[in-house]
């Protein structure tokens, strides 16, 4: 991308591209996550299981599909950003997104007891370990 810059315009355009790239990679530390994998998920530990919270602003409950199998969790869906034909853009940082992400968990999930809720653009999923995967206490003789 940086190759031989034969004139100043190329240098400026390369600088512009470089800054845009760095902005998306959290170099300036301005946003909550870099634009890498989507949606960004935070994993929290809670008693016998995990709580997953994903940032999905602007996505409606019905546009998300959640699937669970053994120790895999799949979150997929899409978000459209549309301002109509008559709009002219001054700034565009939010993007249309179609996502499909499979997460591997450290234990198999108890299918009966999964709870998921969506509030204010945050999807929270509470998962419990399957009975067979719960740690067993070992007595030391």
């Amino acid at each position: 991308m940086y190759g031989l810059l034969s004139n100043t315009l190329d240098a400026l355009l390369a600088l512009q591209q470089g800054v845009d790239y760095a902005k998306g990679r959290d170099y300036f530390g301005e946003n909550t996550s870099s634009r890498g994998v989507y949606p960004p998920i935070n994993f929290f530990e809670k008693e016998e299981g995990l709580v997953l919270i994903a940032e999905l602003p602007g996505v409606k409950k019905d546009d998300i599909a959640l699937e669970v199998k053994d120790n895999l969790l799949r979150i997929s869906g899409e978000r459209k950003v549309d301002y109509g034909e008559k709009a002219s853009y001054h700034r565009r940082e939010r993007r249309d997104l179609t996502f499909d992400r499979t997460v591997k968990l450290p234990f198999r999930v108890d299918d009966e007891q999964i709870k998921a809720e969506m509030n204010d653009g945050l999807l929270a999923i509470a998962l419990l370990r399957k009975e067979e995967d719960k740690p067993r206490k070992v007595a030391i003789q």
Partner: protein
Amino acid sequence: MSTESKELHSTEEKGLTKQETQEERTSAVRTFSPYTDITENEESLIITMDMPGVKKENVDVRLEKNVLEIEGVMDFSRYENLKPVYTEYQVGNYVRRFTISNTIDQENIAASLDDGVLTLTLSKVPEAQPKKIPIN
């Protein structure tokens, strides 16, 4: 993210375009700049910001001397008692400032918050709306 990691952090708004002012402030919680789209149609300017985790009552939109300041305060209660194991996004408040011009009707700003997305509709002053000039 645990609420115990509050820190004094100076937030600096980098002057990215002529529409943002540069100012330094300190706050007790980490603040971030929300992704924003600014679009314009005939009657108004629409600002859309991604603020996941912020409830309607916790958004503060303020207009002072042509500077529009938007602050969304995060509800940390949902993260209480949770121990982070692996994190991909950070948690904090959202702040962003814009300088708006005289073509905006300052009395007429509408705001709504749905699913973590704040939409501000700034109506243009009637004189600023494009007028078609008929040719005789």
